[in-house]
Amino acid sequence: MTNTNNKTKNLGDRDIELLVGRLLRTGVVTASCIVLLGGILFLIQHGASPMPSYHHFAGESANYTTFDGILSGVMQLNAKGIVQFGVMVLIATPVLRIALSLIGFVLEKDLLYVVITTIVLCVMLFSTIGGLKV
C-alpha cells in the first residue's frame, strides 16, 4: 500500500470514529431526556399510589412490549408508554451505531468489514423480529 493510500484510509477511519462517538452520545442523551420526561409525568400521575409488588413476575402487557403498543402509548401521552419509548431509543442506539459503521466500511470499500458488519446487523435483526420471545 502506498503512503497516500494509507493516509486517506486513516482519515476515513477517523471521521467514522468521530461520527460514531457523536451518534452514541446523542442517542443516550435523547433516550435519557425521553425517559426523564415520561418518568416525571408518571410520578405526577401515580406518585402517591402504593408501590406494586415486583416480587412476583407478571410480565408487561402488549402496550409496553410491542412497537405499535409503545407508539400508541406515546400518542396518548401515556407516561409509562413515553418511558418505554425512551427505552426503545436507548436500545436502538447501538444498533444505529452498527448501521453507521456499515456505511463507513462501504465508503472505505473495505469488503471484509462490510461482510462482518452485515452479519452483526443480521443477528440484531433476527433477535428483533425472529419471534424469540417464546
Binding site: L18, V20, G21, V35, G47, V134
Partner: protein, 277 residues
C-alpha cells in the same frame, strides 16, 4: 411504600450502583441486579431487564468519549461482536428454560470472578509479532499515549473469539455486560494492551446488551417504572465516577468495593441455593 418513595430510593441506589460500577470497572448493570433483588425484593427477571438497559446506557455514554480519543479498536470490536451478539441471543433463549435460582447462583459466580478480574495485574505490553489471522482480519492497530502512538498486534484470535461467545451467552442469560470476560478474552488471550481492551470491551457491551435486550423487551421483562429510575440513576453515577477517576487513584476504593462485592455475590448464591428467587 408509595411509588414516589420507591422511585426516589431506587434512584439513589442506582446512582450508587453506577458510581461503584464505574470506580471498580465492573459496570453499573452488575451492581444493579443485587440491589434490586436483595434490597428491593424485585423478581430477578425485572432486575435483568433493568440491568441490561443500564449496561447499554453506560456503554454508549462512555464509548462515545473513548472512540473520540481513538483508543477503541472499532474493527476488532465489530469482528468480536459477531461472537457476542450470537452468544447473547442464545443466552436470552436459554434464560426461558433456566430456573431463576440457578440464574442467581450463576450470577454470584460471575460477580466473584469479575471482582477478582478487576484486581489482577494488567497487560500493558504491546505485541510486536501478530498472528496471520489477525493481519488478515486487519485487527492490528495503534493507540495514542502520552509518548505518542503505540503499535500493537494480536494473536490467538480464534480462542479470543470463542471466549467472546461465552461472554455473550452469559450476558444474555444474566443481563450483564460481562466486561470482565470480554477483557479476559482480549487482554490475557489475544494480548491486547489493557487500555485498548477495556475501551473496546466497553464499546461492545452496548451492542451485546442490545441483542438480548430486544428479546427481553418483547418478553415483558422491562418495567417502565423500574427502568426509569435505574437508567437515570446508573448514568448519573457513572458520570460522577468518570469525573472522580480523573482526580483520584481508585486503588484503595477498588479493594474496598471489591470486598463488598464478594459479600454481595455470596449472598446472591446463598439465596439462590435457598430457593429464594
Amino acid at each position: 411504600m408509595t411509588i414516589l418513595t420507591f422511585t426516589l430510593i431506587l434512584l439513589a441506589g442506582a446512582y450508587l450502583a453506577g458510581l461503584v460500577g464505574s470506580l471498580t470497572g465492573l459496570g453499573g448493570g452488575v451492581v444493579v441486579i443485587p440491589l434490586l433483588t436483595l434490597v428491593f425484593q424485585v423478581d430477578i427477571r425485572y432486575a435483568i431487564g433493568a440491568a441490561l438497559l443500564a449496561s447499554i446506557a453506560n456503554s454508549s455514554g462512555a464509548a462515545s468519549a473513548y472512540v473520540k480519543e481513538g483508543i477503541t479498536n472499532i474493527r476488532l470490536g465489530m469482528f468480536l461482536e459477531i461472537a457476542t451478539t450470537v452468544g447473547a441471543v442464545i443466552g436470552a433463549l436459554l434464560a426461558v428454560y433456566t430456573p431463576t435460582n440457578t440464574i442467581a447462583v450463576l450470577f454470584g459466580c460471575i460477580l466473584l470472578f469479575s471482582a477478582a478480574m478487576t484486581l489482577r495485574k494488567k497487560n500493558q505490553a504491546a505485541l510486536t509479532e501478530g498472528s496471520r489471522t489477525s493481519a488478515f482480519l486487519k485487527l492490528n492497530g495503534s493507540y495514542p499515549t502520552a509518548e505518542g502512538p503505540v503499535e500493537y498486534k494480536l494473536k490467538n484470535v480464534g480462542a479470543g473469539f470463542s471466549i467472546m461467545t461465552v461472554a455473550g451467552v452469559l450476558s444474555g442469560l444474566l443481563g450483564i455486560g460481562s466486561g470482565a470476560l470480554k477483557v479476559l478474552a482480549m487482554d490475557s488471550t489475544m494480548h491486547i494492551p489493557f487500555k485498548v481492551s477495556t475501551t473496546t470491551s466497553n464499546f461492545m457491551i452496548g451492542v451485546t446488551a442490545a441483542a438480548s435486550a430486544v428479546v427481553y423487551l418483547q418478553r415483558g421483562y422491562m418495567d417502565p417504572a423500574i427502568a426509569f429510575p435505574v437508567v437515570l440513576g446508573v448514568l448519573g453515577g457513572a458520570f460522577t465516577g468518570a469525573k472522580l477517576l480523573k482526580r483520584l487513584d481508585p486503588k484503595v476504593l477498588r479493594y474496598i468495593f471489591c470486598t463488598a462485592i464478594v459479600f454481595v455475590a455470596v449472598e446472591m448464591m446463598y439465596n439462590g441455593f435457598q430457593h429464594k428467587f
